[in-house]
């Protein structure tokens, strides 16, 4: 009896502690808001005050693509050092980052977006992947928070045409077309297109398939699930079809497995291509070694580094701070942050409605070049897409694995 009572008391205390800790957390968040408000009024009366604004970073530090997620976060953090403090109307603004992890999952992404809105951010950099962004866009739209992604390349990302969505990387429609054109340049007559059922991969494969079919190339479509280990069914199907080229539009973990299992099934000489989802240094290890990875082609959703005006300086800073090569899309995320700050300055306000309007008219000189955002959807271009001068499917950058590293395929 006594034991039972002690147990009950313990359980109650634990529950109370849990409830309290949760209260404590929300309490803190509310306090933060209060302070910011206080400083605003101070700023207006005395001038020269420091005001803190929050900018969200929605990325995926765990989940299937932690290397991409970390690169995005690094890019934003570098930009924070460069643009994180600025003056506007005599007030010094300091940006505080709110970094949240959506694990590249749609459900998690919706939670993160809601948290961002509750945190009162004036803008968000992110998210990392197209699939995860789809569920965040409506929430940011509802809450009128501008969102600039540096790596969401899926054509379907902004099908709803939300005016809060912007991106500083290219739409995959460009890459899909480029992959199709490239495969034909390489002389492929039969091509397998394979995706991982994710929004990014399906969008890319659809565009590539349409491009190939329009030119009379015979195609076969295959899919797998993200996280699949065994692709023997698909590999057997591919082998039977006997293609000249396989275009895998998903990400590198499955791409590596597919390539490895294709080589093991005696298809080492079939051209293997993919979009930017496979252009990671991780791919080489995942194919089982340099020999298997040799000659894998990938397009990329941005001009080559040497054509990006600010890249050399950016890479040097990145190297110095993180001691490693620039990760995928780091500079696009850097630009996303820079563009957001520039829009705030041009709007002359931290009101999100003003920032959204300013982003639509913005022309920004970033690391990757000078760009603006599309105000209307037109053809493959969606609302909020980056607008880059002189971009065609044929000059989309091409890469190839040589001796275990990605090099330009020109």
């Amino acid at each position: 009896m006594v034991q039972e009572r002690i147990r009950k008391a313990l359980a109650l205390m634990l529950a109370a502690a849990l409830a309290l800790s949760m209260f404590g957390l929300t309490g803190c968040a509310a306090d933060d808001g209060g302070e910011t408000d206080g400083e605003t009024t101070d700023g207006e009366t005395t001038g020269g005050e420091v005001q803190t604004i929050k900018i969200g970073v929605q990325t995926a530090l765990t989940g299937p693509l932690p290397d991409y997620g970390l690169a995005a976060k690094n890019g934003v953090e570098l930009a924070l050092e460069d643009f994180g403090t600025f003056e506007m109307d005599g007030t010094t603004y300091e940006v505080e980052l709110v970094v949240l992890d959506d694990k590249a999952e749609p459900t998690e992404s919706a939670v993160v977006a809601q948290t961002m809105a509750d945190e009162g951010v004036v803008g968000v950099i992110g998210s990392l992947t197209t699939g995860a962004t789809l569920s965040a866009i409506p929430i940011y739209f509802e809450n009128r928070i501008p969102q600039i992604s540096g790596s969401v390349t899926g054509p379907k990302a902004n099908e709803t045409g939300a005016d809060t969505f912007f991106r500083t990387c290219w739409n995959d429609a460009v890459q899909g077309e480029a992959l199709g054109v490239w495969a034909m340049e390489l002389g492929a007559k039969k091509v397998v297109l394979m995706d991982d059922n994710g929004a990014y991969a399906v969008g890319l494969a659809d565009v590539a398939e349409a491009t190939l079919k329009a030119e009379g190339v015979e195609t076969l479509r295959q899919n797998c699930q993200s996280g699949d280990k065994d692709l023997s069914a698909q590999v057997a199907n591919i082998k039977e079809f006997g293609p000249d080229a396989v275009i895998f539009t998903g990400y590198h973990p499955e791409a590596g497995l597919l390539r490895k299992q294709m080589v093991e099934a005696g298809m080492a000489d079939v051209i293997f291509m993919g979009g930017d989802g496979i252009r990671s240094a991780e791919l080489v290890a995942q194919t089982g070694g340099e020999a298997n990875a040799e000659g894998i082609y990938a397009t990329f959703g941005g001009f080559p580094e040497e054509q990006q005006p600010g890249y050399a300086a950016f890479a040097a800073k990145y190297q110095e701070k993180y001691g490693e090569e620039v990760g995928p899309y780091a500079q696009n995320n850097y630009d996303a942050f820079g563009a957001l700050i520039e829009a705030i300055k041009q709007a002359g306000s931290t009101d999100t409605e003003d920032i959204i309007a300013a982003l639509q008219d913005l022309t920004y000189e970033g690391v990757t070049g000078t760009f603006g955002f599309a105000t209307e959807a037109a053809g493959a271009v969606a609302k909020g897409d980056i607008v880059v001068e002189g971009l065609t499917p044929a000059n989309v950058p091409r890469y190839v694995v040589k001796d275990g590293v990605w090099v330009s395929a020109e």
């Binding site: 065994d230 069914a233 199907n237 590596g256």
Partner: protein, 406 residues
């Protein structure tokens, strides 16, 4: 549809199935003894794979290493992949399950889900979120030619190892002292204790064996696919658990049979054309007809009391099965004069309806013989087949393990 294609799909499906089997054996053994599903088992498998991979990486093995070195490293990795999961399984049982023994069955189940989540996060914290990859070794890419079809030696090793472990395990449970203790514990824990069996030790032993098998599975997956991610255990665990239920939970050969059926369905469903798949439906139809024409009437006849057993009565029972559309429906519509007869009639009509359905499905499939199912349907097909099997045979293909007399 070439022979080449069928062979590679079959070997592929068999290999996947045997990997599921290695994990499923752990689920089924623990269930057999404790009537409890150890949801943390999938994570034990992942840990086995990670430990094996990091052992290989730490030893600096690559494709240029001499084979003696590779063999030594693989042996060491195997040792690690067995011992670490065993220790983990033991600790999990000791701290998360044993204190809850004797409580309502739902409580250790929750504890198991908790352990599973904790383990997955621990793997991320200790090893990082990136998938672990090992370099391709000659041993894992070696292939033999079989009638002109290249088959990876490792696939054969996986199949052989799983089969051998299943046989060993059956022997262990059926014919050894500890196996007897396991069966006794499974039958009645209290009675077993009164008979002087240390049930705690027996249960701990069950966990040790199950975890070791999962660890071996982890090693084989890493060697075969070359990489493993921290959340792999979830999907593998789910599918292995499914296999165990499909084969009859608690039943050791059943776990392997269920795993093979699941693995084969996954690969066959999407990589052979409907004309080939239809033959499986035809086989199902043959089985269905056998049940309708022979098995079911025989079973029913065995229920007839001796005093009623007349040749005419027997014939009318046979008729409601064999000529179900006519006699069966007639009997159903007529007044219920005889309970056994009307039950048989209803059963016969149901069986016939099932067989007609299978025949229609087969005919439709043959009519579209060259069509192939989109790979997007892979999980749908696998689980549809699973549900159909369980609908007709709720206790699994080989039946749930019935505890035999010790």
């Amino acid at each position: 549809m070439s022979f080449d294609h069928i062979m590679s799909v079959t070997i592929g499906g068999l290999t996947v199935g045997m990997i599921y089997a290695l994990i499923a054996l752990g689920y089924t053994m623990v269930y057999g003894v404790l009537k409890f599903i150890n949801f943390a088992h999938g994570e034990v498998f992942t840990v086995g794979g990670y430990v094996a991979a990091f052992t290989l990486l730490a030893l600096g093995i690559d494709q240029n290493s001499p084979w003696t070195l590779v063999a030594g490293a693989v042996a060491l990795a195997l040792l690690a992949a067995v011992l670490v999961p065993m220790a983990l399984g033991f600790v999990i049982e000791r701290i998360a399950y044993r204190p809850l023994r004797g409580r309502s069955r739902i409580i250790p189940l929750l504890s198991a889900i908790g352990v599973s989540i904790v383990l997955q996060q621990l793997i991320i914290i200790i090893f990082g979120p990136k998938p672990v990859t090992i370099p391709t070794l000659a041993i894992s890419s070696a292939a033999v030619s079989f009638f002109g079809v290249n088959i990876r030696v490792l696939a054969l090793v996986i199949i052989a190892v799983s089969a051998a472990l299943m046989i060993g395990l059956t022997y262990l449970v059926k014919s050894t002292r500890i196996g007897k203790a396991m069966r006794a514990t499974s039958q009645d824990m209290e009675a077993a204790e009164m008979m002087g069996i240390d049930t705690n030790r027996t249960i701990a032993f069950t966990f040790l064996v199950g975890s070791a098998l999962a660890g071996i599975g982890g090693l084989l997956v890493v060697m075969y696919y070359g990489s493993l991610k921290y959340d792999a255990g979830f999907l593998y665990g789910l599918k292995a658990f499914t296999s165990a239920v499909l084969g009859g939970i608690g039943n050791i050969p059943g776990a392997v049979v269920g795993a093979i059926v699941l693995g084969m369905t996954e690969t066959y469903g999407v990589s052979v054309d409907l004309g080939f798949l239809a033959w499986f439906v035809v086989a199902g139809l043959a089985l269905g007809l056998y049940v309708q024409m022979v098995k079911a009437p025989q079973r029913r006849l065995a229920h007839i009391a001796d005093e009623r057993r007349t040749a005419e009565y027997e014939r009318s029972i046979m008729n409601v099965y064999r000529l179900a559309p006519y006699h069966g429906i007639k009997t159903l519509l007529a007044e219920r004069t005889d309970a056994l007869l009307s039950v048989s009639a209803a059963h016969g009509v149901r069986l016939m309806a099932g067989n007609v359905f299978l025949a229609v499905v087969a005919a439709v499939m043959f009519a579209n013989a060259s069509m192939r199912i989109d790979t997007r349907w892979q999980p749908v097909i696998a689980f549809a087949v699973l549900m159909v099997i369980l609908m007709f045979r709720p206790s699994g293909i080989l039946g749930e393990a019935v505890t035999e007399k010790v």
